[in-house]
């Protein structure tokens, strides 16, 4: 009889511990699970928008077509629009991804697992910029915009002030 | 109530204030707004001329119509509800048996003067600066908290007769 009782007690021991810590587990475990989901969700946006957009602040994520050779490592060229296909004869690994499909799982996995620089190309630099930002915010780094308009953000005209305009003409 | 449970409740209220209104709790600020509007009611021209009260009356502002004044109105209501639920509603003076009522009330008055004066200087009292400040990790919150508790410990010896 006594043997059975002590066995029963022993078997219940883990349950006792669980009961003791139930409130701690009930609060900390869901928090941990939610955080894990949020942190490792491949298709979701990552925490802190600023951190992921830093390369765009000083233009270090822009490369001209002729400079792509200077980037170290195995290159993955992602072509966003059809009409430019076949324009490049680089040694890079080339994939065509229509921009609407860029967030599909297999494409994100391809970019995430690629070692080395990823080059985005589109004839429209604005489209490249938008796609760059959305991909970067999912936490993929080492991604560049390859562009034939590296001077896109340089002002090309000249503004001539109107010398006859004085304070008396405006109010 | 268990202090840890009460503390958690207070923390959730503070979190709600941050989530709903983007700000922390406060108490001395509410007292200040009441005084400001009182001064304005008694002597409007003095209030408007003063560099301190003036800013509360700019552009026809009404100092009583303020988040903090409604909040301290709520504090009184909430305290009353809690006291009623726990059967603690009773007119009395709380003090050490070894001191007289007058002495207790004089010190309570002086304490109130000092506390709110200091709170105006530090821009917040234990709730507005220390508690809410710590919850948003502001340096001001931690410094004020350390100054309040440090100084109270320092003065505790001189006033021990009042309490124990």
């Amino acid at each position: 009889m006594t043997v059975v009782a002590s066995n029963l007690q022993k078997r219940n021991y883990p349950m006792k511990i669980l009961k003791k810590y139930i409130i701690v587990i009930a609060i900390a475990l869901p928090a941990l699970i939610l955080i894990t989901i949020k942190t490792f969700n491949a298709a979701g946006f990552k925490y802190d928008a600023k951190r992921w957009s830093i390369p765009s602040f000083n233009g270090s994520n822009l490369v001209s077509i002729s400079d792509t050779g200077k980037l170290q490592g195995d290159k993955l060229l992602v072509i966003l629009d059809k009409e430019t296909e076949g324009e490049f004869m680089t040694s890079a690994h080339i994939v065509m991804i229509p921009p609407g499909a860029i967030l599909e799982k297999q494409h994100l996995r391809l970019m995430r697992e690629h070692k080395g620089p990823i080059l985005l190309f589109s004839a429209d630099p604005g489209l490249s910029a938008r796609v760059w930002m959305i991909i970067s915010q999912t936490g993929i780094t080492n991604i560049y915009i390859m562009t034939s308009h590296i001077d896109n953000e340089i002002f090309k005209s000249r503004f001539r002030p109107d010398t006859v305009t004085g304070p008396e003409f405006t109010n | 109530m268990n202090p840890y449970l009460a503390g958690t409740m207070l923390g959730i209220v503070l979190l709600l204030a941050m989530f709903l209104s983007g700000r922390g709790l406060g108490a001395s600020g509410g007292i200040k707004y009441c005084v400001v509007s009182l001064v304005g009611a008694v002597d409007r021209s003095h209030a408007e001329k003063s560099i301190y009260y003036g800013k509360y009356f700019e552009n026809g502002k009404e100092p009583l119509n303020n988040w903090l004044t409604y909040e301290i109105l709520g504090v009184v209501t909430g305290g009353f509800i809690s006291g009623a639920l726990s059967g603690r509603l009773k007119f009395r003076i709380e003090k050490s048996p070894s001191i007289s009522n007058t002495r207790r009330l004089i010190f309570a008055f002086l304490g109130g003067v000092c506390f709110v004066y200091g709170a105006q200087l530090a821009r917040g009292c234990t709730s507005g600066a220390a508690l809410s400040g710590m919850a948003v990790l502001s340096v001001a919150g931690f410094v004020t908290m350390i100054a309040i508790f440090g100084s109270a410990y320092g003065f505790a010896y001189f006033f021990r007769k009042n309490w124990i």
Binding site: I27, F159, P161, P167 | -
Partner: protein, 203 residues
């Protein structure tokens, strides 16, 4: 376990989780990725220089132009009515203060296409859906609005309206940007977004 141990255990375990996270008070994209992607691929995410010129010429103030160039560039000249927020500060000063201004639309521009399109994606990711980028930036603005001249023989009613809007926007642009520096400074200051101070504390 007594209450103290329970509370300490809960808080310490939550604290451990927090200690492992890279926390900051910066904002994170909070719209659904698929939705942001759909929005940024919609051609209507950009507005043309002509559309902007028409808005500027109309004197309508239901829109806000936001200039993403540097402060020096902004001081030299800018589209009348714009406010300046250099792109690399766009996320520093919370975009909320810039984008939630009660205007029906916000138009972002820079010299070209790159910065304005980064910024418009950020705005959409933060769910400011009334934000657009000006296609081609100031380069395009100068090509179409500032330097255009009618070269045909007969002008249709539609072309006439277009050229009139361009002409008026150009006139306004030139007049304001030709003011002496001191006056321009005043004008810019009057236009500057008054950074809203947060209300709080015991003040």
């Amino acid at each position: 376990m007594n209450p103290r141990e329970k509370l300490s255990a809960i808080l310490i375990s939550l604290g451990l989780i927090l200690a492992l996270l890279p926390l900051s008070s910066n904002r994170s994209f909070n719209a659904r990725p698929e939705k942001v992607l759909e929005e940024i691929l919609d051609p209507e995410i950009t507005v043309t220089a002509d559309q902007t010129a028409r808005l500027v010429a109309s004197g309508d103030n239901s829109f806000q132009l936001i200039d993403l160039r540097s402060r020096e560039e902004f001081r030299a000249f800018n589209i009348p009515g714009s406010v300046n927020i250099p792109y690399n500060e766009f996320l520093d000063t919370d975009p909320h203060q810039i984008l939630k201004n009660g205007k029906s639309i916000n138009i972002l521009y820079s010299n070209g296409d790159i910065y304005s399109n980064y910024a418009v994606t950020i705005a959409r990711g933060l769910r400011y859906n009334n934000t657009f980028a000006m296609k081609g930036g100031l380069n395009e603005w100068f090509n179409t609005v500032m330097n255009s001249a009618f070269s045909g023989e007969r002008i249709s009613a539609r072309e006439n309206a277009l050229y009139e809007a361009r002409f008026r926007a150009r006139k306004l642009f030139t007049e304001i940007n030709s003011l002496p520096d001191s006056l321009k400074q005043k004008f810019i200051e009057s236009k500057r977004l008054a950074a809203k101070k947060l209300d709080g504390g015991c003040e």
